[in-house]
Symmetry: C2
Subunit: 308 residues, 2 copies
């Protein structure tokens, strides 16, 4: 192939997704690799660098075709220094200068950001939040990731740590969260928590997909579980909406596939409880880019040299 | 007097404060008028216009000495159009074009904003939050007012309604709030709620001042009430800090006069429960400008022609 391309990577606790994008952020090719074998930072970094090299070769490209590499990472990042502070779910990382290491290993320009930030950037520029001035994007999975768009830019704050909507407490006291807090939204609606609740109610293992199907088939127990998820997410959103008055809240991630029953309850809660002006100017929308949002957002990060 | 001055007004449910400021925002003179006699918008607007005229005369000034008039108002404002949407605690106001009316009546340039926004602006530019890039300012009184500073500017959002930290729910369910929501921070720590709690515990009427004195004298019941206030405020702040990662939270207003016992518990809660990076870069400070913060903020609004 000829021309310029961007490589983006979405690193999760269990696998690594690679994508080749053109400069208009179309995904031309994707690959998924398991990362569970790479326990230590050095071996995981080696695997990332190797996968970039292989990916370039597989696509008959050379490094001069690559504008840069954008990585979405599951933890807090110092975007300016290209530093991984730590990963909540991958042990061993502490202030690792991943950008410098990968640039040296690959000879390519590398940009890092938090995965939820990049998903939000994707949805804001090319997905459900496009056109908004202020927006909050949530991705509901094992954790509740999120990003905040303020005045048409990703808001990271001086710490680059802003945007952690999953760690807003929705009760004065409640279950302990991995983050060190209590009663965070995430401890109530993370996918394992919903599955645990379903297991208790149905007295067997039950997937989120099945729980959604059951709710669609009017199973009252399943409906009740989803309504509770929607209400809790709604309560957290009421606080965010009253504080930031975004025009747009975008909700994606696996848990959001529950669809109408979940969205109806979120909307009901927010429109009933949020302040009148804030509620009047707000749309609550399903994410449009699916699991590609982060890969696309990482492409935007590369093209704009991290200045998003 | 000669030279240019700014008149600022802080309108509350019970009284109206007027101040004369120089262009460096020093308060040269202040006056307090009762507004309880003026039930209808028209008569209250007349009283505001008259008080501006009288204030100019009293100070031996003429209108050409006045750069403009800045008003801090107890409700949501359309800052661009100069419109009062409504006042939660003063009935009868609905989308009143107060800026245009007052400009016509007085012949002076008039700028409006929400009172908590102006208090925050004052604390940000000249008070406890100066130097911060991102900050949250709270004023604890009958209500919990607040303003959000993002990237060194007052953040109002497209609706001009952003910044309502007092209406972040701190429980999934709880007492109904005047705003239409449930379990808002304000319904737990508004001053009347604290007084009601104290009345229940002590079986007599007890002022916040006395409740503070009792706590300082190691009265365990009083201490317990203040710890609860601090913990609840702390929980709401944990959510805001995780979401926005400000360098600075400023707390003022009458309730904040409880002082050390309150601040210690707020800090303990936030530093224990907020996420590590957010907590590490955060200071929680007492407001410095006292009840003048709003009058000073209104002066900044006038001097910068509302473009703050």
């Amino acid at each position: 192939m000829t021309g310029k391309f961007i490589i983006t990577i979405d690193l999760g606790g269990t696998n690594l997704k690679l994508a080749l994008l053109d400069l208009r952020f179309h995904i031309l090719s994707k690959e998924v690799l398991s990362t569970q074998a790479f326990k230590k930072p050095a071996s995981l970094i080696g695997a990332i660098a190797d996968s970039i090299d292989n990916f370039i070769q597989t696509h008959d490209l050379s490094k001069k075709n690559i504008l840069g590499v954008g990585l979405g990472l599951p933890g807090p990042i110092d975007v300016k220094k290209g530093l991984v502070h730590y990963f909540p779910n991958i042990p061993g990382w502490k202030d690792v200068g991943l950008k410098a290491i990968l640039e040296k290993r690959t000879g390519l320009k590398v940009y890092l950001d938090n995965d939820a930030n990049l998903m939000s950037l994707g949805e804001f520029r090319l997905g459900a939040a496009r056109g908004a001035v202020n927006a909050i994007c949530l991705t509901l999975g094992t954790g509740v990731g999120s990003g905040v768009i303020i005045n048409r830019k990703l808001f990271r704050a001086e710490t680059f740590a802003a945007g952690e909507a999953g760690h807003i407490p929705i009760n004065e006291s409640g279950p302990r969260c991995n983050c060190g807090g209590n009663a965070c939204l995430e401890v109530y609606i993370g996918n394992h928590r919903i599955e645990a609740e379903a297991r208790k109610v149905f007295r067997r293992n039950i997937s989120l997909e099945e729980l959604s199907s059951l709710a669609k088939a009017k199973n009252q127990k399943a409906i009740k579980i989803w309504l509770k998820v929607g209400r809790r997410l709604g309560v957290a959103l009421v606080g965010m909406v009253n504080l930031l008055s975004p025009e747009c809240v975008v909700i994606g991630g696996g848990v959001a596939n529950a669809g109408k029953i979940l969205f109806d309850e979120v909307r009901k809660t927010v429109y009933r409880q949020a302040m009148p002006i804030q509620a009047k100017h707000l749309s609550i929308l399903k994410a449009e880019l699916g699991s590609d949002a982060g890969l696309i957002g990482a492409g935007i990060l590369v093209k704009e040299k991290g200045l998003v």
